[in-house]
Point group: none
Chain length 430, copies 2
């Protein structure tokens, strides 16, 4: 399958005139957040392109047609998501063809691709072959992770439609592999927008903001905080004529932020606490194991999400009852009886047990009450004990994440806290 | 401050023609999810009103004007969010006035309200009094939690604009206190909208669609498919005079779908494969343990996400290297050497090992190649071996999820497949 080629339209000289249209009745039903449009808006900004309009329309041919016509009048580029699937309510391609009065032509590359993706199936659902019909003169946007390809199609010299699927992972792949470069090649941008995201943990968004009031008012670069569960991001965004100039605007701000927040800063861009911890361990050629109770496997899962996690992570035990804690992790029965499963003593014994059994340099144990039931006045929902064992010493933390929190929030916060504490412990030992 | 009164427009007799316009440049920058539009869409559905169009425009008077004109041509009601604040980039009210050539008149109630809200301040920022200017003949939507009021304004008999602020908490308050009732009073709704979501797995969206071509064309209820990784949902949506009537329209379709897809149907609404499996085990008073290699804890995490998972799930081992497989799970070394870690033989030995060690009725073992590295021509990325052990028998599955898949997709698909196979095994034994 070939990539979309660049013969049409010729370079577009305006910086304006991009809009996004998300197609799908589900987006009108109020249960689904439109994350696609936010992601695409972000990606457009990253390559220095503004867009001025977003819209959503249902899986309805007439209304979609009206959107396509409106868009062709006001914009140079229309990026659509959704409606490329194999079912009858997937109408994007055929509506584009009928709106702009062009033929649909069967594309052999797509047929071959569908056949290859279904090679382990007994038969290929006939519906899938609908996806091989493309408007005449359109360019293919290959879809390596699904069966619905996209197109780049210019019904006129001044108007180009780029179709992407609604499935977020497929849409993102196709953007990164084809569309991003195509847009960069065809738009002569005067300025680039360049941004860098720094990540912080162990500090609240408001405490962080209070320490940098002037930076948050800065015009170029701008500095904007975004909080999520257990961490805060600061995005530094610069406008400049060249990427180099933009980088040089960002660099001093980045240094200032790192100096201001010291160990609360843990990484940037795509780095995660898990990837940082694995990198630190890999450099030391040391191994980690984990014993989880209330987090139930999500600490292991966060670590093994990272490619090549096995360089540093050997595995763990999810000990969801006391039998496992005693018999697999070797937690003494008297500790469980005297202090209860959610106690520093038991978490420490779990950490020693997993470290010895799994023969690792480091271990983490987590025991807590994730709720919604199981809390008491002495040990409320949200109480979590974390113990980290190194080669010669250990650290223990007690956290009260709060009974108002939901189960999955308490689990997530425990994972973040444990990974961060191991990070700090490793940095201390380096 | 009085509530919006009902003298204009007179009752609107159509059920159609509502749209939502979100105003704010921040929504075009890709940093913020537009949760307002999702919330409003949901609220409209709850009171039985459809809407057909959503759009987003920046804080730009010209472009906003163009949106207002387009909307006045195609819709009866336009609900806007944003642009009501006191700063210079808040342009909604003045743009509405200029677009529809109406005067702005100072509203004394709003001035009194602003003064009362600022009574503890030394001085009132002058900007705030801008918020007291309303188009002539517009009705006030009071804002009890902020200073920016909204309006209900009909520039013509057939077109009404309802403005709400962009701050979600204020927007929601004003919707609940004024707008919802106003819409219910003015729209002679003949119908409510009621929907139910059924969940399927082990079948592709296209195969599922092929079996129910007529249902997918159905008008009331409609049946719409939505695919996500490893599962497909069908949402049945009915319009009827009463909720009871809507339910009775959905019921036969629901039965038909369950009968058509039999075991591919696994649950509805908020049920997940993990919650279904835990329920099945709980009813049988049986326990489950898991041994994970390539899924790295995410199978455990999926199970322990469910409240009271410990009723049925005792824990597991993440065996991320061969030492753990041999020494904790008791996988014989010769199996690892002869067949490799990703083989039915080793997965079976892992399942036996965890079941015996953790003393459970059931066990699941997963071993595979999640990538991006580690694949070979014989054992490509995406190859996953799953073994499920019951009390007297076992089942093994080999899956090829495909080398084109990303690591986290292969992990997720493996978890879905394993949970589904255990579900089928449990149903077979019941």
């Amino acid at each position: 399958m070939t990539q979309a080629t660049n013969n049409q339209p010729s370079t577009i000289s305006t910086n304006n005139g991009i809009e996004i249209l998300c197609i799908g009745s589900e987006l009108l039903l109020g249960k689904i957040l439109n994350t696609n449009v936010t992601w695409l808006a972000d990606q457009l900004a990253l390559i220095g392109l503004n867009h001025y309009f977003q819209s959503v329309v249902g899986d309805n041919s007439e209304r979609l047609k009206s959107c396509l016509i409106d868009s062709s009048k006001r914009s140079r580029i229309l990026i659509t998501t959704g409606g490329l699937g194999p079912t009858p309510d997937d109408l994007t391609i055929e509506t584009i063809a009928s709106t702009f009065k062009t033929k649909l032509i069967e594309n052999q590359e797509i047929i071959n691709d569908i056949k290859s993706k279904f090679r382990f199936s007994v038969e290929i659902p006939k519906n899938n072959f609908k996806q091989a019909l493309l408007p005449e003169n359109s360019k293919l946007i290959p879809n390596f992770t699904g069966t619905a390809p996209g197109i780049i199609y210019s019904p006129s010299k001044d108007f180009t439609i780029i179709t992407l699927p609604g499935v977020p992972s497929e849409m993102k792949h196709m953007w990164k592999q084809t569309v991003r470069d195509w847009l960069s090649d065809h738009f002569s941008r005067e300025e680039v927008i360049y941004s860098k995201t720094l990540k912080f943990t162990g500090i609240s968004e408001s405490s962080l903001a209070e320490k940098i009031p002037k930076l948050l008012q800065n015009k170029n670069p701008t500095v904007a905080p975004y909080a999520s569960l257990g961490e805060v991001k600061l995005r530094i965004t610069a406008n400049a004529k060249t990427a180099k100039k933009a980088s040089s605007l960002i660099q001093p701000i980045e240094t200032k932020l790192k100096n201001t927040f010291e160990l609360n800063y843990y990484g940037s861009e795509n780095e995660t606490l898990a990837s940082i911890v694995i990198d630190l361990l890999r450099k030391r050629k040391e191994k980690l194991s984990v014993a989880e109770s209330c987090t139930g496997g999500s600490l292991s899962a966060a670590l093994t999400e990272i490619p090549c996690a096995s360089d540093a992570f050997v595995g763990g035990v999810v000990a969801y009852n006391n039998y496992i804690k005693q018999n697999i992790l070797g937690v003494p029965n008297n500790l469980l009886e005297k202090h209860g499963a959610v106690s520093e003593q038991v978490a420490k014994a779990m950490a020693i047990g997993i470290k010895n059994t799994f023969r690792t340099d480091w271990s983490i144990a987590i025991s807590g009450i994730a709720g919604p039931s199981g809390g008491s006045s002495l040990k409320p929902v949200g109480l979590v004990e974390i113990v980290i064992f190194g080669q010669t010493s250990y650290q223990s933390i007690q956290e009260h994440f709060g009974s108002h929190r939901e189960r999955n929030q308490i689990q997530k916060l425990s994972v973040v806290r444990a990974l961060d504490q191991l990070r700090l412990f490793l940095l201390e030992k380096s």
